[in-house]
Amino acid sequence: MTTAPGPDPFAAAPPPRGRFLHALNPLAKIAGPLPAIVAVLFAHTWALPALLATGSLILVLVGARLSGRALLGLLVVLPLATAVLTLSFAFWSDGGRASATPLLVELGPVRLHEGALLAGGATALRLAAILLLSLVGGLSTTGPDLARSLVQQLRVPYRVGYTALAAYRFVPRFGHELDVIRQAHRVRGMAPGRGPLPALRRRAGYLVPLLAGALRHAERVALAMDSRAFGAHPTRTERHLVPWRRRDTVFVLLAWLATALAIALAIAPADLIAQKV
């Protein structure tokens, strides 16, 4: 491996201006939304997921630098997917409990009751809310910084944290290896033909070569790490620090406060409780 002069590819990128989520500790962006995610898991009405989904959508739109693809996903794909999931969950849902509620649509054998639609909407909104809440951290955190903060603040053993990070850097390599295996199989004419069954047989055949190649590669990496005395000392110097600042504490407390407010708002009006399905 040659060392070409030039900018350090592993240096910390300066956080984008005005996008405050990027300047927070990765753990703060997990700890803040976590109680909200737990609350959504136990929510039965649509009100709490809707409130939290909207809140986190605004937070992501304001606080994170988004690519065009991410914007498209958040503003077009996600609402569409929620609508589709609402309808499909509504049609699948337990007819017995919902059939007492008013009938909305009847198309031949298909009957859609209001209760079924509400239950479907609640389930779809729960999934959307969990996704959006986890995107608060997900869209503004890089993997290496998350690993660093896990090691520096949460005291995850650095032997595990940095090894996982090294393994993640293998992903492009495995993509390439999968391509090579695929081509080798094609050259040898393994499981030719079209349709799902030959495709499945082809894909099953990639498993053992891919894993054996991965293990051999990993063994070489482990040897290289051992020979550099990785893990010999209880502590380790850091390439750069990911500190926990006062603004991280403020963010977490504000997020918890907002969650508590959303829960209070969602359960306060009696008519919303009556809609519990």
């Binding site: 898991l41 969950f89 699948w92 849902s93 337990d94 007819g95 017995g96 079924a116 239950a119 479907g120 609640a122 389930t123 729960r126 999934l127 969990i130 996704l131 986890s134 995107l135 997900g138 993997g143 032997r159 595990v160 090894t163 996982a164 090294a166 393994a167 993640y168 293998f170 992903v171 495995f174 993509g175 999968l178 799902p196 495709a199 499945l200 894909r203 990639y206 498993l207 053992v208 891919l210 894993l211 054996a212 991965a214 293990l215 051999r216 590669h217 990993a218 063994e219 990496v221 482990a222 040897l223 790490m225 051992d226 990785f230 893990g231 399905v277």
Partner: protein
């Protein structure tokens, strides 16, 4: 290359019961199995829907039988590494990688990975990390399948009927016992016979058996 670091064969033969402490090579291999499995999950994410839809058309709920493909990472990691936490760690790394490469379920993949890894891990722990025979692998697969089934009916299908939920969980357990359990055990055997596992007890066991069969 390996001869410079591996111990003489005589020392390896008299070595006492392997420790449960993780070596660097254990962490790297577990991570790499996780990463490779994550890529396989990603391929499966693009492939599974016709199979799932076909099973669902036969009997709603039956589609969970093929979910076992997403559970093999934990069982495989546990079978190869043979250390506490290996199943959870591998399944979680695999889930993380498939989420980072891009799945239709986004970050929910991580939660699923954690729960499913726990299901397999508990079975290995029940056998005190000392038994890695085929039936333990099948049970670990069943544990992961049970965890997946319960997780999915709570998170994805809360509004569906009890019949669907029962079928879903039972199919998940049976499918996972075969796909994640038995298949992982067969994969370990296939990998061991390539020689890729020679630094692990899992590999030495198979090569010793083959050597004695030849003798």
């Amino acid at each position: 290359m390996h001869s410079t670091i591996s111990k003489p064969a005589a020392a390896a033969a008299t070595r006492p019961r392997p420790t449960l402490k993780w070596r660097v090579v254990d962490i790297v291999i577990a991570s790499v199995i996780g990463v490779a499995a994550g890529l396989i999950f990603w391929v499966w994410n693009l492939t599974y829907s016709p199979f799932s839809a076909g099973l669902e058309a036969v009997l709603p709920g039956l589609q969970s039988a093929i979910g076992g493909v997403w559970l093999f990472a934990g069982v495989l990691g546990g079978l190869i590494i043979r250390k506490p936490g290996a199943a959870i760690y591998t399944e979680l790394v695999a889930a993380t990688v498939s989420a980072l490469v891009g799945t239709q379920w986004g970050v929910l993949t991580l939660e699923a990975g954690l729960v499913q890894g726990l299901g397999a891990e508990l079975v290995f722990a029940l056998f005190l990390y000392g038994n890695y025979r085929a039936y333990v692998a099948v049970l670990a697969g069943a544990g992961a399948g049970l965890a997946m089934g319960i997780n999915d009916i709570v998170l994805w299908y809360p509004a569906l009927g009890a019949d669907f939920k029962t079928i879903y969980v039972i199919a998940a357990v049976i499918g996972a016992s075969i796909v994640a359990g038995l298949l992982s055990w067969l994969i370990v055997r296939a990998l061991a016979s390539t020689g890729a596992l020679n630094r692990f007890a899992a590999g030495r066991e198979v090569t010793a058996r083959e050597a004695s069969a030849r003798a």
